[in-house]
């Protein structure tokens, strides 16, 4: 009798698992999704940590993005250079071909832009921006509470001595998380070969800007006239770079009466300069 029970349970268990396994194998064949073989290769080249540093949910989503849309292949931080090389091989891309994008905060105000009121709420740009559009008189200014500093996975953003967020272009990977989080929408992604920026986003009229911020763009148009490659335009009392033909000649930096045009080459050390040349 005892042997009977053992045999019976063995048979039932075996047959149930056999049937389930059989059904699963049929289903696996029937519902097979043909995925791009390149995607599988890219996926295996990625480290598989699913850390999300690239800005995608996991490695699989990033691999899919690489294959289907022309996303940059150097976003994977844990993988480093080796991974980029591997992916470049699979995708037939050259590593140096990739234009590295870096973020730039288009505001230089900080302590040089006047406050409208004393804000004592939560130390977050998001909440500060909800109170009368921020504590600065300039409604386009960087609020300086560092939402972008917190969100940056690479510690590439810091608050500089004037109380404005600034991007370290050596560490920035161009993931764009700061662009999304900034409530003032003054962070922009540009190719790292452009090193001259107009650090102002104010669309107020010149005389107003002059009153509330010492480094704001007053829309005088000197830079537009000066630019030898015509890469600067004036719109809504604000000069801005098209980031198209700029050759970093820095003529506009010299001409700007309020010093709101800044060359990052000047600011950064020599090492950075050589790095930019390599990127070019």
């Amino acid at each position: 009798m005892k042997e009977n029970i053992i045999i019976q349970s063995f048979l039932v268990m075996g047959s149930v698992s056999f049937v389930i396994g059989f059904l699963l194998s049929i289903a696996a064949k029937k519902f097979k999704v043909v995925s791009n073989p390149k995607k599988d290769k890219v996926l295996s080249a990625l480290p598989g940590a699913n850390c999300g540093a690239c800005g995608y949910v996991g490695c699989e989503q990033y691999a899919e993005a690489i294959v289907s849309s022309n996303v940059e292949i150097n976003l994977c931080k844990p993988g480093g250079e080796e991974t980029v090389k591997k992916i470049a091989e699979i995708m037939n891309k050259e590593v140096s071909d990739v234009q590295r994008m870096v973020a730039v905060v288009l505001c230089a105000g900080g302590s040089r832009a006047k406050d409208e009121f004393l804000y004592k709420g939560l130390k977050s740009c998001y909440y500060a921006s909800k109170v009368f559009n921020g504590q600065k008189k300039c409604k386009y200014a960087c609020l300086g509470f560092g939402d972008c500093v917190e969100v940056c996975p690479f510690e590439a953003i810091f608050i500089n001595k004037y109380g404005v967020a600034e991007v370290d272009i050596l560490k920035c990977t161009g993931c764009g998380l700061c662009v999304k989080v900034c409530p003032q929408k003054i962070i922009k992604l540009v190719s790292c070969s452009y090193q001259v920026h107009i650090l102002c986003s104010s669309k107020d009229k010149g005389n107003i800007v002059r009153q509330i911020c010492s480094v704001g763009c007053i829309g005088c148009g000197l830079c537009v006239k000066t630019c030898p490659v015509r890469d600067i335009t004036l719109e809504d009392n604000l000069a801005f770079m098209k980031y198209d033909k700029c050759n970093n000649c820095e003529l506009c930096v010299i001409k700007c009466p309020t010093k709101s045009i800044v060359s990052k080459i000047q600011l950064n050390s020599k090492e950075n300069f050589s790095f930019i040349n390599i990127a070019k």
Binding site: V12, V16, I20, L24, A28
Partner: protein, 195 residues
Amino acid sequence: MKNTSLLAIFISSVFVNNIILMRFIGLCSFFGVSNKLSSALGMSAAVFFVMTLATVVSWFIYNLVLLPLGLVYLKIIVFILVIASLVQLVELFLKKNMPGLFKALGIYLPLITTNCAILAVAFLIVDYKFNFLQSIIFSSGTALGYTIAIILFSSIRERLELAPLPNAVKGYGIVFITAALMSLSFMGLIGLFGF
């Protein structure tokens, strides 16, 4: 269970015997994915889907195979096997036929394989000796109870993020306290419909 009318079973499984707040089953996912309302919705949709399906399959296997052969003691291992492979099957099916839903459920679908609430429902149905219709009502009601609990809880947690809390209860401390208070308030329903 004294009252076995369908409505009574439904109300009982949603509110009176809520799987999370009264039975304390499936707590890991309850605390794990309730930090955002959107992820809570995704998880509860996946639970609803799998719980109802798993109950149907396990009811057939129990009543048509295990019970006639007198192999009831095999139910634990068989149910685990059935649920795990069912989730796998559903995953394959969704990936092919409903990629939109598959993406929406995302990581929560495979997580359900190890969700004890699913297994618990399969066992409870055996314990209560439900017939087929009753088990379907019971399982979908339980899943609905799970949904209600996790949605309420995640809404509270989203607000807790912004609340000024003492350091001692920050993070999971206040989360556990909140869950306990919710459970207490659900206990007020004991006795409804004679359960």
